[in-house]
């Protein structure tokens, strides 16, 4: 999923699932947690510019189950000091892994195993995948804006 899609979906989970902790701070924290996992792609930008996609080989261990395990441990430790902050971090991290697993081939047990799995819910063709991502991003964005407006956080 593209970066904007991750941000929209994570914030949607926060706004609809934990409305009591929604604030500018938690929205920013969730957005950061939703995109920080993708930082490992930076090392492979040059290849991605040629192939127009980040292949599953560009996903480091922090982008798979071991990474999610670490992210969840960090979140629950932060939750001991600030429950809203920890929960918004957790929502950002978990939503990222959820979307990636649904829409991309992943190597969940990397570095223990390099096997790639794909759930087949998104197209493999690059053009179709881009359109699919764009459509999902627009849907998530629209619902997020409507939800934020509905809760009086933003005025349209």
């Amino acid at each position: 999923m593209n970066t904007l899609g991750h941000v929209f979906f994570a914030n949607l989970m926060l706004v609809l699932g934990a409305p009591s902790i929604v604030s500018p701070t938690t929205l920013i924290v969730t957005s950061l947690a939703a995109v920080i996992t993708d930082l490992d792609h930076i090392l492979h930008l040059r290849t991605a510019m040629k192939t127009y996609r980040f292949k599953s080989e560009t996903r480091s261990r922090w982008h798979e189950l071991p990474g999610l395990l670490l992210a969840m441990i960090i979140s629950i430790i932060i939750m001991l000091f600030s429950a809203p902050l920890g929960r918004s971090l957790l929502i950002g991290f978990v939503s990222h892994y959820f979307l990636d697993l649904l829409t991309r081939p992943t190597r969940p047990f990397y570095p223990l195993s390099e096997r790639v799995i794909f759930l087949g819910l998104a197209p493999k063709n690059l053009k179709k995948l881009t359109a699919y991502d764009a459509l999902l991003t627009v849907i998530f964005g629209a619902i997020l804006i409507a939800s934020l407006h509905g809760q009086g956080i933003i005025n349209i």
Partner: protein, 164 residues
């Protein structure tokens, strides 16, 4: 115990055979796609739990588990039960699904999700499947929570589920 296991296994095969005879389309469906559908349903369970819509969340989690079972049946039908890829898909989908559901619950469930994720990685490393059936446990607790609404145990379950 062994006799019981053999009987249980043969009963399971019989049920499987009858399901496949009734629904031959299952042989053509991709097991991974069913796992994906099961995963795609979990945010709905998360939202319903956040809204304290207990009955609706029980139904959704039951559907998630049913789809999870169905993907096993389809994999059996296609003879993919020994495949490591299938196990990997199943375990990964289950862990992410648990993580999504636990977002709406108390820290106890988040801790169990973390534990299960660690167990999943160890299971792969040691080639022994040892994972807590957390979603099934959540489903049972939710059913108890729904049934015991006017009982003294309710406030205890409420604490466990949403506040600890």
């Amino acid at each position: 115990m062994r006799v019981f296991m053999v009987k249980a296994s043969s009963t399971f095969r019989m049920i499987l055979k009858s399901v496949l005879t009734r629904f031959p389309i299952l042989r053509q469906v991709d097991a991974n796609m069913i796992s994906g559908l099961s995963l795609a349903l979990t945010p709905i369970a998360y939202l319903l739990l956040s809204e304290r819509a207990i009955l609706a969340s029980i139904v959704t989690i039951f559907l998630v588990l049913l789809l999870d079972l169905l993907d096993g049946i389809v994999a059996h039908a296609k003879g993919q039960t020994s495949s490591k890829d299938g196990w990997m898909v199943d375990v990964t989908v289950d862990r992410i699904s648990e993580a999504i559901i636990s977002l709406a619950l108390s820290r106890v469930f988040i801790l169990f999700t973390i534990l299960n994720m660690g167990l999943a990685l160890l299971s792969y490393h040691y080639e022994k499947h040892a994972i807590i059936p957390l979603r099934q446990a959540i489903l049972l607790i939710l059913i108890a929570y729904y049934v015991l609404q006017s009982q003294p145990a309710f406030s205890f379950l409420d604490q466990i589920l949403f506040y600890w």
